[in-house]
């Protein structure tokens, strides 16, 4: 009995630091991944300067299901960064808020909102300098400290509706 108790104590002692370290390492990694996903959202914030090289892998791809055609549209890193540049010409300032994040394994899901001022011409309409807020969720997959792939959904309908770019659905019965 005594022997067993001793073995147990020794076993627990041997195990605890190892298990604690492993848990700590994995928690640390998740926190690092969350921080990186947060940096990625800062790319859309005109008041914050971050370097895409520190955030996105060279082979980065961005998948969005926000378009009028069915299915995902995929952009490579250069095409994605060009979208951000275009966006800044139209919506500045743009301020990003992170609401919460859910991290597991190599993925981080981030719920965000963006408050923008309509400051430049967009799809044939003149800027109004009005402020709009829209929400989105982005899932990032991280490999070797860089984001390699993201999937995004955001309120494109609501932003376009606010800007007057959507013809309100007309009911034939009304």
């Amino acid at each position: 009995m005594n022997k067993i108790a001793t073995s147990f104590a020794a076993g627990v002692m041997a195990l605890s630091p190892a298990a604690a370290l492993a848990a700590k390492d994995s928690a640390k990694l998740l926190e690092a991944n969350k921080a990186l996903a947060l940096e990625a959202q800062k790319l859309w914030d005109t008041g914050l300067k971050v370097s895409a090289d520190d955030i996105l892998a060279k082979t980065y791809v961005n998948h969005q299901d926000t378009n009028r055609v069915s299915g995902m549209q995929t952009k490579d890193r250069d095409a994605y960064l060009a979208v951000i540049e275009d966006f800044e010409r139209t919506f500045s300032p743009s301020e990003v808020t992170i609401h919460f994040q859910v991290a597991e394994g190599d993925k981080v899901s981030t719920m965000w909102s963006n408050t923008v001022t309509f400051s430049g011409p967009f799809m044939g309409i003149e800027p109004t300098n009005q402020q709009y807020t829209y929400h989105g969720i982005q899932i990032d997959r991280i490999e070797d400290g860089r984001i390699v792939e993201s999937w995004v959904n955001w309120d494109k309908f609501d932003l376009f509706n606010d800007l007057g770019l959507v013809n309100e659905p007309v009911s034939p019965t009304s």
Binding site: V102, I139, D158
Partner: protein, 162 residues
């Protein structure tokens, strides 16, 4: 030798229950989030109380930049309405991430437009759109969700927006 064996046994066994409990909860939470998505496929809202807390709140983003909370009864009515306009409906879960009491689920829905929808009579068109939903789980039920989906895509595939 025997003592060494015991130590190895304890070392090998001990972490399992501790880690398993955590990952079991995460897997159960993921399964619950998938069940909630499945309800969109089947339209079987009678089983809702197995999935949702009675005080469930669904936060859908509204066009004023805020989120507009919807209660369980209203949310289930949206599912039932959708089933009057589309049949069959198929929801595929594409990925999930779970941490603590939260699960993020990325999904894609395909359906055939077989009944009136927002004033448009059945077109027989197949529509496809996707979204991401984050569920918060409390006592084995979904207590709260935040979602974002391709409303623009759905409405434009049906010719409801230009």
């Amino acid at each position: 030798m025997r003592r060494f064996f015991m130590m190895v046994m304890i070392w090998a066994i001990c972490p399992i229950p501790v880690l398993a409990q955590d990952s079991e909860t995460l897997e159960a939470n993921k399964a619950l989030a998938r069940q909630a998505q499945q309800m969109w496929s089947t339209g079987d809202i009678a089983t809702a109380e197995d999935v949702y807390a009675s005080a469930y709140v669904n936060h859908e983003a509204a066009d004023d930049g805020k989120t507009r909370p919807v209660d369980l009864k209203t949310y289930l009515a949206v599912i039932a309405d959708f089933h009057r306009s589309f049949n069959p409906i198929d929801v595929t879960v594409l990925s999930q991430t779970a941490e603590a009491d939260m699960v993020a689920t990325r999904w894609q829905l395909s359906a055939v437009h077989t009944g009136d929808f927002m004033g448009v009579a059945a077109t027989g068109k197949e529509i496809v759109y996707g979204g991401i939903r984050i569920d918060r789980i409390e006592n084995g039920r979904i207590a709260e969700s935040w979602g974002n989906w391709n409303k623009f895509g759905l409405l434009s595939q049906l010719g409801l927006v230009n």
